[in-house]
Symmetry: D2
Subunit: 328 residues, 4 copies
């Protein structure tokens, strides 16, 4: 059984102060505010044709409500509901319009306890790709991917690849003999990932990655952040990843939710692509130039919601070491 | 019936002087020479994992031997052979190794008289994406697309979309009422095109498009060409296309074969993408900044081979006007 | 006698509609509006510490009021007044505050009939170089240079170099034997020019050049202009000059006044720099990549004011051919 | 008394293995080898018209032989010799040709014990600015500046500004009341510095700064270094300086000599420029984005030679704290 999952579609962050979050994402980084209601801000990138790729929801604490994937076949919503139920996973149907402009959507607490959503329809908006007069800040083009920490990374890998039909672009293994899977980059659209699963305390959302137009947009994001008093939000980078080859910077929003500005990976049009394999302790894997990630990058991540109660889920430690040797 | 065509794979240009062509493509533009024999040079980009994306073959006159597409399912070669034969198209089986490192391949003279090839296997080579010390000239990453002129563009559109399963990203129509299709950009991989079909004297190959890493690589290509005495090869651009949004320059190789250096279009992960429609005479369509294309861009293109005899095919004029109003 | 002229300081354009001009310069190109009164808008770049580099003045027709140079020694104003008077040139003293924030200034109709101004003091403003949140449009950093057409280019060259102490970075000569001077690039600050004098119908201001932060800012200016309906303002380029090596684009404002966005020339810290000499008909001189300038670039330029009456001066034809062979 | 010092001219590094140093500077970073003899390699940038900006000399240990400044008036060599002798500083005349292509030059051990050289003449070479086919690696354009650590920074500041006529662009002061000078950026050419003097263990050469063509060249240098096994050479950055606004990266050559790749500061054409003042502990001063410099950046620097004996000079500690609070 295959599903018509096309890509990471949107993510909903919990933020404790909507206006403070809006200042960060819209005024500084240049996300477009495309809709809002009392509880939520809907934000989009310049390349997206759907109404939003990032939702900010007012909540008592930071965290993540759900990670949404689009399906191109609307019948897949029912088929996915059956699948999750067959695997004993809680599901929840969100009525049309529950998220602005979105049709009926399926949420599930997946076997890794990640709160996922599947949808088919979102109202389109004016295409802004060639409205260059609206390019600002980081020139954010679109949501690119999710990165999740889970204690059982092999199980998560199997779920996404064997059951949901994701392909693996690159992976990281431990130095054990035989090596164990430590992290995997999995895609439906044709670049390095729609979702990565990393070994770690989880379930947690490590970060959401947003595509920016080019390397200079990453540098400019840092310049604008520093110019507006947000220098402390720059957690790691700018730099180049060995794994994925992307040029990146990691930011923490005012609530501590982490995003990545990401560009310049590569395309994978062939489904028989041979995954690229990295050793966990190869210093060029994380940052090709050799810079060590800060320990916060491993210690901190966003808790995720129980899809039924909205409460944040407890986390469990992983059996494998949760970080490489070259952390600062 | 659907086919597992994944992308434009390679193209073979006829050149009258292999060494002169090598100087242009390898020494100046930075293509990598990955193989050669007495008759052919095999060239590749930095991102490609297959041995080559461009083949230069010694011939008495310029032109194009064939346009190759990859299939991810090897059984599709036989199924495609049946399809072309059913439509009365000549086919020809190329034995393994006929092109260096390539498995058995199918050639066909398609219903538009275009010489196409389908293959499954090509020997891989060392991945150069992160060998930044090899980046030179235009930083050519990979073959991106073919652009063909045909007299019957609606027929070509139907063939590629309905029979072969290409999707349409953008299209151009005439000012007639009702409008007629004038050109279409068709893709299998998830960007704007693997092949475009334009109304015009044909069958001809208008150009092969190669992806470069960023906008500055297009500028640098012009700088390097001018520095080495090849300024006359710059035919049109640099500029931004309205259609596709790509940043581009068109070059003519020493034999007059045309290539495009192309970057910064956008991704189309959703198969239900609504094509973007342009009017043929919208001046921003061709060059978003309003620059008029030179008449040579419409007058001149490469003849294509008869797949059985290797002779260049005669061309027929199109029933529609072959260019917009804003040509110089 | 030497003078402490440090650089091109500002220019005043005549515009027929201040709001229309403001939309072009401020809203689209990203100049900062730093002051205004009923008659004038004062605009500045991101790097400038003085209040303005460009003044737009409401007038009945386009044109140029004056070209201003800064002197670092305030006593040079009187010495320059004496000089111009000695050469029979009309002068006029502008009282402090006549231009907003500027101290007493000297205007003169120079021996080439160009309306020049010299000033020492202009009120500073907040430094915006690191206010990256204010970077917009073309990222205009500062006024860089003036380019003037004069019928007697050798005379203008002698005046600026021998009398005023400008140095020559590059020059263009005719194909005559012996060659005649056709144009010269003259500087006080240490890059290619503060003023260029070109053979042509004059006195006219051909263009004012503004420095932008990098090559991509030139491309982005074109993108933003096209996105906002100003594509017709792009007259020539983007491209690279052979002479000066700068990356450039020429724009016409809504009144037809011409500006250049200019970046990436080189520094000349040594006063004994040997000027680089180009032949007028070397096609790489004007555009290194070989693109031909449009005839409008030679035909059209801004009339300049009589410093006493404010009327626009009549022009005279040059004795030398006014353009190279490779114009479109 | 003023001197016609125009700029930082060249620097001579001691290296223990000429071929190993050549691999780093020429093969990887793209410096051009313009001359060599048994003892020395002469390297140049793409914009320089003199034969070299960096000399590598075979020696038993790393370090710096001398920092050279150009004078545009040849008579200044004698006048400078008188000046240094009057101040009790050892001098040494280097005969024409001692450094390849260079005329007679003056060396002095200045009052800060720095080994400086003054020269007027160096043989020119072909201008490579428009030989874009030679751009490689970091696209190194030219030597930009020297940065020296001295125990008595106020004394060094006074010497360079009051005696030699350097201007101050920016400076750093301690948090004392009244504040004490901690570092100063001093220039003769019209950008931020030809020489900076920083409080610290000295006399030492902290680094030599080389101008690269743009921000992407800094990123590309890191990519190329990492691709060729030199990732460990990247000591600090890439990032943006608050002070100077430059985009930078610091590298250590295989001997530990430090260079900076530097671009995008600003011009200072006015001699009455008001220096920009920073507090030593402002975290945005060192890196505008807030990144902390590593302790090695403060601990390690190159010893300098006694101009008479060639022996490396002993160092003394500074009375002021040698680093800000925000070092890693």
């Amino acid at each position: 059984m295959t599903f018509s999952i096309t890509r990471a579609g949107h993510i909903e962050f919990r933020v404790t102060d909507l206006e403070r979050a809006r200042a960060f994402y819209v005024d500084v980084l240049g996300f477009m505010e495309t809709d809002r209601d009392d509880e939520r801000l809907y934000l989009g990138g310049l390349e997206e044709r759907e109404r939003y790729g990032l939702v900010l929801r007012k909540a008592a604490s930071p965290g993540v409500s759900h990670l949404a994937f689009r399906v191109s076949d609307p019948d897949d919503l029912n088929r996915l509901a059956d699948l999750y139920q067959k695997h004993g996973c809680p599901i929840r149907w969100m009525p049309e319009g529950y998220e602005k402009g979105q049709g009926r959507a399926l949420r599930a607490q997946d076997p890794n306890d990640l709160p996922v959503e599947f949808y088919h329809t979102v109202a389109p908006r004016e295409r802004m790709l060639q409205r260059f007069d609206h390019y600002r800040g980081a020139n954010v083009m679109r949501l690119d991917h999710f990165n999740c920490q889970v204690p059982q990374v092999q199980k998560a890998y199997d779920w996404f690849t064997q059951t949901l039909g994701f392909h693996c672009s690159e992976l990281t293994v431990t130095d054990d003999a035989p090596p164990k899977l430590w992290a995997a980059w999995l895609h439906r659209k044709q670049n390095v990932h729609d979702i990565a699963v990393m070994n770690g305390l989880g379930p947690r959302l490590h970060h959401a990655g947003f595509w920016v137009s080019d390397q200079l947009s990453v540098l400019r994001a840092c310049d604008v952040l520093a110019a507006t008093g947000y220098a402390d939000c720059i957690e790691r980078g700018p730099g180049r990843h060995g794994l994925s080859n992307a040029f990146f910077v990691y930011l923490r929003d005012p609530d501590g939710n982490r995003i990545e500005l990401y560009t310049n990976d590569y395309i994978i049009p062939d489904p028989d692509w041979e995954p690229i394999r990295w050793s966990m302790n190869d210093p060029r894997r994380a940052t090709f130039w050799g810079h060590k990630p800060p320990s916060s990058w491993f210690d901190e991540a966003a808790l995720v919601e129980n899809i039924e109660t909205g409460e944040l889920l407890p986390v469990s430690p992983p059996p494998l070491k949760d970080r490489p040797d070259f952390v600062t």
